[in-house]
Amino acid sequence: MSAGKNNLYYVLAAACVGGYVWLYLNLSMPDAMSNPGVELCPMKRLTDVPCPSCGSTRSVVSLLQGHVSEAMYWNPLGAVLALGLVILPGWIAFDYFKKERTLAAFYEKTEAFLKQKTVAATFILLILLNWIWNILKHV
């Protein structure tokens, strides 16, 4: 499962399918899945401390219901995930039918961009801040 030639597309497609199934489960049975319901994050289960992306399901669900500020409160990363869920399936399909590799090229460019020291440091800082906020608000 490395980012090899075609593996990237499989991994991303699987992630999208998983994301949509998870979202569907959360939307169709909100009571069963809500707190304290199914909690898949192993970190929160084991240590009771939320991880940096805990709350993103609630964030995406709120976003779907139109509560933008609520979504931002639960976890700003939810917006990033929602964007990915919207864009990626179309992009994968585009590359598949056009037999191009635009997504893979974009992925490699993004990876190179993120590996720059200053960029990486900025993102690590943001994630840490988000994590601290997550712990403080007991997501």
Partner: protein, 112 residues
Amino acid sequence: MDAQKVDMFIMANGKFFEGHLIPQIRERLLQLDDSQWAMIQALQFKDPTTSLIVSLLGGNLGIDRFLIGDTGLGVGKLLTCGGLGIWAIIDWFMIMGATREKNMIRLQQSLY
């Protein structure tokens, strides 16, 4: 390159690569010019055991993937709580192989 030098390299660095690739690496190194020995010696590889430890401890946050240079997959893992915890567990078993694969890519990049 000298067979003795190549065998020394294999002995010191064999654990960083997949077993079935070792003969191929050996063959390739034997064809190399002696001047490249210093460069090959200076290459740094990631230890699969270290990445396994990191995966067990920080796999949820994707730190293992960042460590071996799979930044994109690392971000994916970080944003999804380690793929809802499932990907993190899968990676406990995959990460050593992935590390060896990355090491092989690193060696190939410097050879060709």
